[in-house]
Symmetry: C2
Amino acid sequence: MAEVKFEKISPADFFYRNRDIAGFTNPSRSLYTSIRELVENSLDACEVGRILPEIVVELQEVGEGSSEDVKVFRLRVKDNGIGVDAEHIPQAFATVFYGSKYGYRQSRGTFGLGGTMALLYGQITTNKPVTVISCTNKEIHEFVLRIDIVENKPIVLNHKVHENVNNWRGTIIDYYLEADYTNSKAKIVEYFKNTAIVCPNASLTFIDPKGRLYYFPRITEKVPEPPREALPHPVGVDVETMKRLISGTKSETLLSFLTSSFQRVGPKTAKEVLELAGLSPTINPKELNHEQLTALVEAVKRYKKFRAPDPTPLSPIGKDLLEAGIKAILMPEFLYVVQRPPQSYSGFPFIVEAAVAYGGKIQPSENIQIYRFANKIPLLYDERADVVWKVVSERIDWSNYNVPKGAPLAVITHICSLKVPYKTVGKEAIADRPEIERELTIAIRECARALKHYLIRVEKRAITMKRLNIYAKYLPKIAKFSAELVGRKEPPDVTKLLEKIGVTPELLEKIRLEEQESAA
Amino acid sequence: MAEVKFEKISPADFFYRNRDIAGFTNPSRSLYTSIRELVENSLDACEVGRILPEIVVELQEVGEGSSEDVKVFRLRVKDNGIGVDAEHIPQAFATVFYGSKYGYRQSRGTFGLGGTMALLYGQITTNKPVTVISCTNKEIHEFVLRIDIVENKPIVLNHKVHENVNNWRGTIIDYYLEADYTNSKAKIVEYFKNTAIVCPNASLTFIDPKGRLYYFPRITEKVPEPPREALPHPVGVDVETMKRLISGTKSETLLSFLTSSFQRVGPKTAKEVLELAGLSPTINPKELNHEQLTALVEAVKRYKKFRAPDPTPLSPIGKDLLEAGIKAILMPEFLYVVQRPPQSYSGFPFIVEAAVAYGGKIQPSENIQIYRFANKIPLLYDERADVVWKVVSERIDWSNYNVPKGAPLAVITHICSLKVPYKTVGKEAIADRPEIERELTIAIRECARALKHYLIRVEKRAITMKRLNIYAKYLPKIAKFSAELVGRKEPPDVTKLLEKIGVTPELLEKIRLEEQESAA
C-alpha cells in the first residue's frame, strides 16, 4: 500500500515554499518585488497620515553571491510616514498574514504579505536578521528581528529605545538579501519613474549600488484625501461575513443591525429585506439559528434594489495630479485625461482614470506603450494577462482614431478600488471583470476621440500653413507684376489683403528670411 | 493622528478573503476550479496506489441562486483511489495548508489548498456542510464537516462508520455550491476531454445538470510508475531547509549528514563542500552555531560541481500513452510526439514532452491550438501568460516549417517536475524559466521538422499522382493513335509500361470510371 504523509504548515512556511506566487521568482525579480513592497508600505504610511511622502531607498553591494550576477546587497528604505507602534513592530514585519490592510479601505497593499515576504526572502538568502527602526511620535524604537518560519512568528534578537531629539517620525527598514541588480535595474528605475507619475506629491530617491542617484522631486504639494474605511456593501455578502458582523454588533434587533452594519441600507430597505427573509425586525441578531442566518443571507442576495456602493472612501489620483505627473515624466506633445464616475463590481466601488499621451518625448514604437496603475501603484509585469492590455489591444481599433501603427502613443490607466481584483498575490495583473473592462473601454475611447480631433487639427493646420505660405510668397509677386503690366511704378500694398486671409507679419518676415537664405 | 488597526488572520481566512487568487473569481470559473481540484485529488489518490482511475463526477441543479445564470448545485465526486485514513479526513478536507503534497515528489496538487478551497467556496455560497465518505481498506467512514474559517480548523458535525461489505475503496465528496454552469460548461467539458488525453488509463464520467453523460473510457490498461519521493538536491538549498534537514537527521557527523540528506552528494563531494566551508567533517551537525550554518549553506551555493538532479522520481506521460491519448481525442491525420531527456532548474528536475498534431479532425483556425499540461493536468486559463504560448507564438516561425496561417494545427505540451513553477495559486500559467523555455523550444521544433517532412511528402505525392494520372490517361490513347497511324489494328499493350512507372491497375480502373462518369 502506498504511504501518504499528512502535514500542516504555517502561512510563512507556505509562502517560503511557494515564493514564486508572491513575485519572488528569481534573484532579479525578487529584488524588484522587495523594493516595491517596501516602498508601497511607506507610501501607504504617509497617505494614511496626510503626510507629503519623503522616501529614500538605498541599495549597497556588500558581498559575492551564488553566481556572477547575483550578489549580496544591503537594502535600506526610509520614510516619513506615521510609523508603527512598538508593540506591533515584531508581528507587523515578521508574521505572514498580520497587517493593517484587511479593512474595507483602499490601500496599496492588500494581502498583508509583501513586507514580511521581502524580509523573509532576505533571511533565507543571507541568514542575517533585519533591523526595523520606527517612531510614531514619542521615542524611537529599534528592533533586530528574525522570522520563525515554521511557527510564523517573530524572534526579537534585540530591542533598543532611543530618545527622539529631532522630533523624527517614520520607519526605516534595513536588511540584507541576495539578489541580481544587473538584470533588474531597468525595471526598478522604471518602477520609480512610474510611481512618480501617480504620486507627484512624493519625493522619491533611489541610490543604486554604483552610487548613481535617481531623484524624483515632488511636483506638487497637494495632498489627496486619504482613503477612508467604510461599512461593507450588502451585495456580495456571504454567511461568513454576516456571522462576523453579527458577532461584532451591539445592535439588539435585526433592523438596527442591518442599518448600522451595512452601507446603503436604511430602515425601509432593511424591512424589505427582512420581509423577503421571513424574519421579524425585532429578533436579536445574536439569537439567529442556522436556518434563519441562511435565510437572511439568501434574502440579501435576492434583493435587487440596493443602491450602488458609496464611492466616497475611494481616493483616485485626480485629473490634475495625473496630468501633472504624466507631463513631468513623459513630456508628451498631446495629453488628454479622463476620470470616469464611480462604478461597482460585486459590492466594491471603483473608479477608472485613463489618459492618452502622444508625441513629444514619447518614442514611436511598434506596440502602444501601456502604463498601468492600480490603487496608486505601477504594475510592470504580466502586461498581457491584464484587462488593460485586452482593452487597448483587442477592444479598440486605433485606426478609427487616425492613429497609425508605430505612433508615439502611450495609454495610462489607473484603477482604484476598495478591492482591486488582482489575478495573483504578486499584484501584477488585474482580472477582466466585465464592469471594469467596460469602464476602461469607455474611458480610453473618450481619450482616443480627443486625440483624433487633435490629430485632425494638426493636419488641418499643416495644410492651412502650406496654403498661407503660397499666398504670402506669390501675392506680392503678382501685385508687382500686375503693377508693371499696367505701367504703375509702385505695386499695390497687399499686406492688408494678406492679413485678412490670416498671413501675419511674422509669417511674411519668415518667408523673406527663407528666400534670402535660399538665394544665398 | 490616523488610526491603524492591526489584525492577524488565519490562512483559511486569507483565502476566503482573496479567493480570486486561488481561481475562484466568479460563479462560472469557480465551478470549473472546484471540479478540477477534486478530480485532480482523485487522480493523485489513484496514481499513488497504482490503481487504474475510475472517476465519476455528478453535478445536479437543486435550486435557484442569486442571479439568472447562477444556481445552487450539488457536486459529487467519486473515485477508487487509496482513500484517506479516518483520523486525517477532517483536517485534510477542512484545513487550509494541511495536506500530503508537501514532499519532494511529483503530484498534480502542489499547494495543499485546492480541495479545501472548493469545499470552503461551497460553504460560503450555500452555508451547507460537506459530506466526505472514504475507505482505505477496512470500514467506511462518513463525515459531515464544516470549516471554521477564522480558526482554520474542521468542525465535525457527524461521523458514522459503515461496514465495508463490497470491499470498496476510494473517496466520495458530496456537497453544495452556488455556481454558473451555463457559462462554464464548455470549459468543464474541455477539461475532461483534455484530462482524457493525458490520463488515457483513466475512466472519466461526467453527468451534467441536464442529465447529459460525458464518458471518456479507458484507452489503455497501462499504469505508469507512480512518482517517488526523493531526497532534495543541494542546488537551491537555503538556511531554512538546511536547519530542517539537520533537525530531522540521525547522523552524528557533517560528512554522513550531507551524504544521507541530499541526492547527488557522495563522500568525495561532501568533503569538498566541507573544505570550502572551512568545517571539519566530524562535527555533529546539531552543534553547528549560526556562523557555521551560514558558512555551510554558502559553501553549497559556491560549489559548482554537483551532478544534475536525479530525474527518476519524475513520472512523465510517456510517448506511447501520450500518442494514444491524442489519437483517441483529437484524431489527427499526422502526429509526432517527442520526449526530451530530463533537465533541471534550481535543483528541480523536469521533463518536457511535446507533440504536433495536424489535419484529420482538427479544425483549421486562425491561431495554433495549444493544449497545455503540467504534471498530468490540463491548463485551460491564462494561456497568454504561459511559457508555452510564448514559445509557440513568438519563438517559432511556423512558415519555416511549411505551415500556412490558419492551418489545422495543434501543439500539445506536457511539463512534469517535482515543482512546476506556476505563476499563480490557481495553477494556470507556467513561468518562463529559461531552462524550461529552452527545452520546450527544442521539443516543438523537432515536432515541427517532422511535420514539415510530412507536408513535403504529401505535396510530392500529390504532384506524382497528378503526373501518373496524366500518363495513365494519355498513354493508352497515344498507343491507339500510333497503332492507327502505322496501320495496325491492335494498339500495343501499355499496361506493363504503366506499371513500371508506378501506375497500378487500381489507378487505371479509377481513371476509367472517372471518364465514364464525365462522359455520362
